[in-house]
């Protein structure tokens, strides 16, 4: 299924204040791949993801989703396929109840109300906050907001899931639930995160960004275990790979 391929070609983007956030990013992600995007604060992860969702447009270079180049004209088509979870859930929740917020997307695509309801219930259930459906989103805790924001995207049934820091501010159990959920999601996933252990579990491939450039791009095990490379990019080895802090026994993979 070639239509889930994402191809970025020499993307460059400068913020209006002159900050060059992307400086020639190139990669190709094929159908069903699950890719972790890592890098220090300010490396350009969020900026890159916003390009993939068609929120920002590159100054130079091109993005193709399937065979379709991402332009303002093809935007509605692309947005239906790419679901994006933003870094700050507050940006994503704006209706008066969690239910209406999750229903916002499906309703925009004019689905019949029964189908909307089915989708809303199932996506809220998936992220484990079905009991919060009638609450106003701005009265939820940080983690609950995060879960609601993820549900809003799941309800759109996207082919490609783009997530910016999905596990930040989730408690361990919700984090685990999300990871299991994402493991079950067979479509293409692109996840920008500082949660290297999640990348290790979830993504077979990792792209490391630094100062708006791709430093390396390859199999996760090889990259995340490269202590020198990790250090250079302002990261460190995933906890799962470090020895036990108590008994100091080194783990092997």
């Amino acid at each position: 299924m070639s239509h889930h391929i994402i191809q970025a070609d020499n993307l460059k983007y400068k913020y209006p204040d002159g900050r060059q956030a992307l400086n020639g990013v190139t990669f190709r992600i094929t159908h069903g791949e699950s890719v972790g995007i890592v890098g220090a604060n300010g490396a350009g992860k969020s900026t890159l993801l916003m390009h993939l969702a068609g929120v920002l447009f590159p100054d130079e270079g091109e993005i193709r989703i399937g065979e379709v180049p991402l332009t303002r004209k093809t935007l509605p088509l692309i947005r239906q396929r790419v679901g994006m979870v933003f870094q700050d859930p507050d940006d994503q929740l704006f209706m008066t109840t969690v239910y209406d917020d999750v229903a916002f997307g499906p309703r925009n695509y004019k689905l019949p109300e029964e189908e909307v309801e089915k989708r809303v219930i199932s996506s809220l259930d998936t992220v484990g906050i079905l009991h919060l459906k009638d609450r106003p989103p701005y009265k939820l805790s940080g983690g609950e907001k995060r879960a609601a924001a993820i549900a809003t995207v799941l309800a759109m049934n996207p082919d490609i899931l783009v997530m910016d820091e999905p596990t930040s501010s989730l408690d361990p159990k919700s984090r685990r639930r999300l990871i299991t959920l994402l493991q079950g999601f067979t479509h293409t996933k692109i996840i920008a995160t500082h949660d290297l252990d999640m990348v290790f579990e979830l993504c077979e491939r990792t792209i490391v960004l630094k100062d708006g450039r791709v430093i390396t791009d390859g199999p996760t095990e090889k990259i995340l275990c490269d202590a020198e490379l990790m250090e250079e990019c302002g990261l460190e080895l995933p906890l799962g790979l470090l020895g036990c802090p108590v008994c100091n026994a080194k783990k092997t993979i």
């Binding site: 700050d88 940006d91 008066t96």
Partner: protein, 270 residues
Amino acid sequence: MSNPVESLYNIRLLDELAEKKSIIHNVHPLMKVLTTGAYLLVTVSFNKYQLSNMLPLVFYPVIVMSLADIPAIPIFKRVLPALPLITGIGLFNLLYDKSPVLVLPWITIPGGWVSFLSILIKGFLTILAALILIATTGMTKIALALRIMRIPGVFIIQLLLTYRYIAVLLEEAGRIVRAYSLRSAGEKGIKFRDWGPLTGHLLIRSIERAQRVYRSMCCRGFAGEYHTGREKGINTGDILYFAGWSISFLIIRYFNIPAMIGWLMMGVRR
């Protein structure tokens, strides 16, 4: 705006009230918008000396609020910020208009007082009616009604986003004030010299935030229309609601009911 976070809850209170269920909430939004429109027109159309004629207009907000189970005090509080403005406008009447006016058959007072009071009441009632409309209908459904009335989409989006933007602005203001007060070593309020940078900061932050919210709406297929789901049709009850109120407003407009009641009582006494 002494406590932005609190005002935020206040502004959202209207949204929460709009989620309630009652006979009034059930009326089709279009009919409620039209009824409110009729009410505003009739209220504004009274001339400034017809103080006693317009008193029965008070019944509309009272009846709707009690049927819709909307708490009076928070709504009244929300009218207050506009009152200084109205008072300012009305004040000149006190100074310039000294001609005696017959209020009730047995009372005359300077015309300025009458017109001042009537401007105050008109202002209060119109704002109250608008707030009641929002609290019983909700902004998204009002937008739906406007759409049915063929108002151009641009204006409707403008209205919706402005309404959202107020919440965003207050939220950002709340965060800034909180961050400021945590680091201002127990000082009360915000120092005058910090007002400039803080407001500039607030403006930029809220614009950026509004932009991000708008982007995320676009990402979920927002194309300029809110869909509220479960959009029900207009039935006879809805039309009767509108017709009933309109007729009552017209009666209030063209007959001086308090005077009639007055005459009636005098007649009985005689």
